[in-house]
Assembly symmetry: C2
């Protein structure tokens, strides 16, 4: 089948899906969940193929992203069951009013239509994405990375079959079984059939899609995240948060990549932080001022301030004050997640208001930018742009609305 | 000043604007309103220059769009006063929750940032756009069409001066005084400084921007709108709605361009409709079946079904039933406004649910797709895409949100 035909069929499926009842969708999500657990052996076998061919090519953080275990399978299945249990957003009357001329105006929540997701590495994206899209009444076209092609293909087949058996229209979940970039290019200009494209992956992937797509894009995921340690930081929380935000899962976008330290406390706190980071095998690099305090730090280059390492590596910079920290962040961040450690309410308020990011934190790890952690359920990605949705995008963020106007012959005066 | 410098300054202004009080914004909007009325002579003089050079080049509908009168000046001033009186959306706590681990999560409404509006012809867009953007705390960059350059420049100067005198940061309202397309191209790739681009104008303009912008676009305005007359239509409302939807202001995007008539009533109603349209100087073209009923209709070509005339012209097509009408509309429309005339509740429901458009009507003119007419106040455009906003975009649609998370040292488990 040609790609344009694939996209057309996805749109046809989405038209039907918009009218499928909440009950059928729930039944399908539970069937998908069961099917994943029942077929865990097949999934692990396919994933092993992917892991074997990735060895030596990918670093530890990326291998971690690629790996599927019994635990991640249980998590995927649990995610689908949680989605099944959530309220169906479609059909909600968001607003309703009667105009003086008698027109009845309703703002009704409807599915987006066809959602294209282009992603790398993590196979669970296949399942989470399809589940969320389905719950919100959307058809989804999945284009995964070549590293995970075997895992993704198997997962997509299992959930698509289970969904269809439960009464979901065919072609509601489409997996593009190709690792060819040309197929991506073609999909990115099918505005008539595809309503939105959501890239999940590296900066390079996201930039490529932003530059080449005429279909509306929601930018997700790249996280050059900062932790700013203010002069008035509670000393007791510094090291636990630095270590958690950097090392708990370094391959994820909400991990910190940069540490900004107020100049008045740098001498006091930096040596301990560096020791703790090294104990966790983190490579620490620093700007000139940081290296005056600890000359063993590797010198940072200008490029470091704009780099998302996704690895056990961090760059440290000494800043003059909160304003200096904010302006450095706004110049170099990727609008994802930023945190300040401070007991000074004024500095905290300034940071929260002025930092340009989807999520801003005071006295907490940036690792909480995640649908489950913030109580929004499974997410399709973390939006780092300002249109439509910002931060974790769950079910509601996969819908739009339509104005329905009922009259009795009204004309405009 | 270079364009990139202009965009940087707009972003700096937007950072300051985000913190400007509701009171100052209100004062500024009232000052802008007063300034427009006070300077009506200057505005009309500049508009006359534009009209003089447009004569012979533009059709009547486009000249109508370009023309500024005492009445439109009063409307612009009134629009600003209405915006001034509306509630400030910025700072609203959209959602607030406390997580089991003690994290306090707030979803706070914030401005979009920098909004670029690229538009043609209608000079009132300059004023409406700047007013709405300002109310929502955004900086705006205005790039108007060459036809209206003198009118736009004068309007922008008047309102920008008035806003600054009232305490709004400089560079919050920027008018690009150039008719060069290269300046558009440059702005369309300034993702770091511009948060959204909203094109208002012809299909050609919109397509150009969709294809060339890496900044997120909200598509607006192109309206290849349909009126479907069902077998069960109330005969009494047909002609008034057809005439209103086509002729009240043919140069606007919510006017109908196509008439679909159920085959069972075509013979009965079409001759009267054609007579009434011709009385209003409308050129009527038709498909083969329509021409069997009235051979004086000009034959329609395939291209007609995809054309927005923006003029006193309409194409008529005879359809088999509501399903045929819906599938024709979904294949050819621009997702703007569509209407069905029918007393059959089932057909109405089907049309409302299945037609892919921002606004769907039953038994009313499509001319109501307008912020004021639907009770949403002044609008910055009519979105015809599904992301972020659909239909008339008012103040709320010019904001986004940010997640503010407050902790006491929490780390992720």
């Amino acid at each position: 089948m040609s790609l344009i035909e694939t996209a057309k069929r996805a749109q046809e499926a989405s038209n039907k899906l918009a009218g499928v009842s909440s009950q059928i969708k729930k039944k399908a999500l539970l069937a998908m969940s069961d099917a994943i657990e029942k077929n865990s052996g097949k999934i692990l076998a396919e994933n092993k193929k992917d892991l074997d061919s990735a060895k030596g090519k990918l670093n530890e953080a990326l291998l971690d992203r690629l790996k599927v275990t019994e635990k991640t399978i249980r998590e995927m299945a649990l995610g689908l069951r949680q989605i099944a249990g959530m309220e169906d957003p479609v059909g909600e009357i968001i607003e309703e009013k009667s105009m003086p001329n008698g027109l009845a105006v309703k703002k009704v929540r409807v599915p987006l239509g066809v959602v294209l997701v282009i992603y790398e590495s993590r196979p669970n994206v296949t399942v989470d994405t399809a589940g969320l899209a389905l719950k919100a009444g959307n058809a989804v076209i999945l284009k995964g990375g070549s590293d995970a092609i075997n895992s993704n293909k198997m997962l997509a087949k299992i959930i698509s079959d289970a969904a269809c058996s439960a009464g979901i229209p065919e072609n509601s979940i489409t997996f593009i079984d190709s690792t060819d970039r040309k197929s991506v290019d073609a999909l990115l200009t099918m505005n008539r059939y595809i309503d939105v494209v959501i890239p999940r992956g590296s900066n390079k992937l996201i930039q490529y899609i932003v530059e080449n797509s005429t279909v509306p894009v929601i930018e997700t995921g790249e996280g050059n995240c900062h932790l700013y340690i203010d002069e008035d930081a509670d000393r007791a929380i510094i090291e636990p948060i630095v270590i958690n935000a950097k090392t708990q899962r370094p391959g994820t976008c909400n991990s910190i990549e940069k540490l900004l330290v107020h100049k008045k406390i740098a001498k006091e706190v930096l040596p301990g932080i560096v020791r703790a980071l090294r104990k966790h095998n983190v490579e620490v690099i620093g700007d000139e001022q940081a290296r005056k305090i600890d000359s063993s730090l590797i010198p940072a280059t200008e490029k470091d301030w704009d780099t998302e390492y996704l690895d056990l590596k961090i760059a440290v910079k000494v800043v003059d004050n909160v304003d200096d920290a904010i302006s450095h962040i706004n110049e170099h961040n990727t609008r994802h997640s930023e945190s300040i450690l401070s007991k000074n309410a004024e500095n905290v308020a300034k940071f929260m208001n002025q930092v340009n990011a989807a999520a801003v934190y005071a006295n907490a790890s940036t690792r909480f930018t995640d649908g489950f952690q913030l109580g929004m359920g499974a997410e399709i990605g973390i939006s780092t742009q300002k249109l439509h949705a910002r931060g974790p995008m769950g079910i509601k963020e996969l819908t739009t609305y339509k104005l329905e106007v009922f009259g009795k012959g009204q004309v405009r005066q």
